[in-house]
């Protein structure tokens, strides 16, 4: 990557001047990801791209395709998502099954799950120059918390130590369409997808739409606050994928964004 080269040559500043103070070369940024609030991916070497969006917005399909495309371009890819930590992903599954847990405890369990992946898997991957594709990130976790009545500032405080992504794209889909897609995929809507813990409506469809509308509103706020890029997620998979490739290519200085999925992934391409 271009900026890596720039990094490896610290003696010359971008405008060609010699560094003025000796201290400029001596500044060592301590590697303390556990304490530091904002470590940028630039310091680390790799790059972090995040796909956000409600259930049924097509994130996982896009991630599968992007992984293939990036690998064909010669980039090593690592993925992350929610409930995928070795530390307690399974425990969260159990809790969700029992649904006796309170919103606060659940929010903190998700935070633990998130940071376990970030610190034990993602930061090392980025330091090795890998490209990380995240299937959801802190924004979903914050939006869910806010929908359940936790204070924004509280959640933002918990996630302030999280690495800021290079690019975050929010695949925006109306809840009505998301419902349709989810139902088509699994013939069911889960208790949590419908936000049934919030007693919004005894009617499954109504509950889903109301809950996802709350999440969507919060995403709208988060997009402005954190510079998330909103993308119309209601278009076809190839159309969305082209936009995503463009955004990533610009960041990684990949010249061509041409891509045709392999036979194995062709079924996603519609």
């Amino acid at each position: 990557m271009k900026r890596n080269r720039k990094k490896s040559n610290p003696g010359i500043s971008p405008n060609g001047d010699q560094p003025t103070a000796a201290s400029e070369q001596l500044v060592v940024v301590p590697r303390a990801p556990l304490k530091s609030t904002l470590e940028s991916t630039e310091d680390l070497g790799g790059a972090l791209f995040v796909l956000e969006g409600t259930d049924g917005s097509g994130r996982s399909t896009q991630i599968a395709l992007l992984t293939e495309w990036l690998e064909s371009q010669g980039f090593a890819v690592q993925t992350m998502g929610l409930r995928r930590s070795t530390l307690l992903a399974k425990d969260i599954d159990v809790l969700l099954g029992e649904n006796t847990v309170t919103r606060l405890t659940l929010a903190l369990m998700y935070a633990t799950d998130f940071y376990d992946q970030l610190e034990n898997r993602i930061l090392p991957a980025l330091r090795s120059g890998l490209i990380v594709l995240a299937d959801r990130y802190i924004y979903t976790l914050m939006a869910r918390g806010v929908a359940r009545g936790l204070h924004r500032k509280y959640l933002h405080g918990i996630y302030e130590k999280a690495l800021r992504p290079d690019v975050t794209i929010w695949l925006d889909v109306r809840p009505e369409l998301a419902f349709e897609r989810l139902f088509k995929k699994s013939q069911a809507i889960s208790y949590w997808e419908a936000g049934r813990d919030m007693f919004l409506s005894s009617d499954l469809y109504q509950s889903f739409v109301r809950y996802q509308t709350m999440i969507r509103k919060e995403f709208d706020f988060l997009a402005k606050r954190y510079g998330l890029n909103r993308l119309d997620g209601e278009r076809s998979v190839p159309e969305i994928n082209r936009d995503l490739r463009k955004a990533i290519a610009a960041r990684l200085h990949i010249r061509s964004t041409r891509y045709q999925p392999s036979h194995a992934l062709a079924h996603l391409w519609r």
């Binding site: 530390l87 633990t112 940071y115 509280y154 405080g157």
Partner: protein
């Protein structure tokens, strides 16, 4: 009863939750004598017939397996160590401590959020981040801080315990190769963190080197002066 202590800034993120009970907390490093003293206080109140509930800083079944796994495999970072304990505490707080406070109980807690503030900040988490993390928990009506000199407290623990656990000894911080030595350094850091909170958090300082019965007498006096105990007696 109205709360007298100042609420930290971060607590403003949570609506002020009112309760009719009272929360009395003991804090201090391992071996400071706090648990013994709280036990004696509890016995005294129980025998006198007060409505009370006792709670300890240990795992709720909910998070126990994850915490155990994380510790066994030594995969906890300072952040996840702190978060998993916060999740654990939140569970106990929301399902036990707070409902009891609302129900008008005198709740006695062996360790509270200050344990996390001291221990996790010694591990490198920022105090502001920690204060925010625990902003859901109200400031206690009364916090006793048992302070014993480091060597006294450490000796009490080392003599009575065959083997210190990895995280307990702070081995994750690479302070020393020897577990006992690491424990000593780690406890010293926690002690410093506690000391810094004495004024900011209004701790009642208790000298852990005093004889047990003398300390207990003092503890009962402070409790009676600071908390209106009559309302925890059953109506006749």
């Amino acid at each position: 009863m109205e709360q007298t202590a100042e609420r930290p800034d971060s607590a403003k993120h949570f609506p002020k939750r009112r309760y009719t009970g009272a929360l009395v907390v003991v804090e201090g490093i391992d071996g400071s004598g706090k648990s013994t003293q709280l036990y004696l206080l509890k016995r005294w109140l129980e025998i006198s017939g007060y409505r009370l509930h006792f709670t300890e800083w240990n795992s709720s079944p909910l998070v126990k397996s994850a915490t155990k796994r994380g510790k066994q495999r030594r995969m906890l970072t300072p952040t996840t160590y702190s978060l998993i304990h916060a999740a654990d505490f939140a569970d106990r707080f929301e399902r036990q401590i707070f409902p009891l406070l609302q129900g008008g109980y005198l709740v006695l807690a062996d360790r509270y959020i200050y344990t996390a503030f001291a221990r996790d900040s010694a591990r490198g988490c920022s105090p502001e981040w920690l204060r925010n993390l625990y902003a859901f928990a109200p400031v206690p009506d009364l916090t006793f801080y048992f302070r014993a000199p480091l060597e006294v407290a450490v000796q009490r623990i080392l003599s009575g315990r065959p083997k210190l656990k990895y995280y307990e000894a702070g081995m994750d911080l690479s302070l020393a190769y020897d577990r006992a030595e690491s424990f000593r350094i780690f406890q010293g850091m926690i002690l410093d963190a506690y000391d810094r909170m004495v004024d900011t958090d209004g701790f009642v300082l208790m000298d852990g080197t005093q004889p047990v019965n003398k300390l207990q007498k003092q503890m009962r006096e402070v409790l009676q002066a600071r908390v209106d105990l009559k309302r925890f007696l059953p109506e006749k």
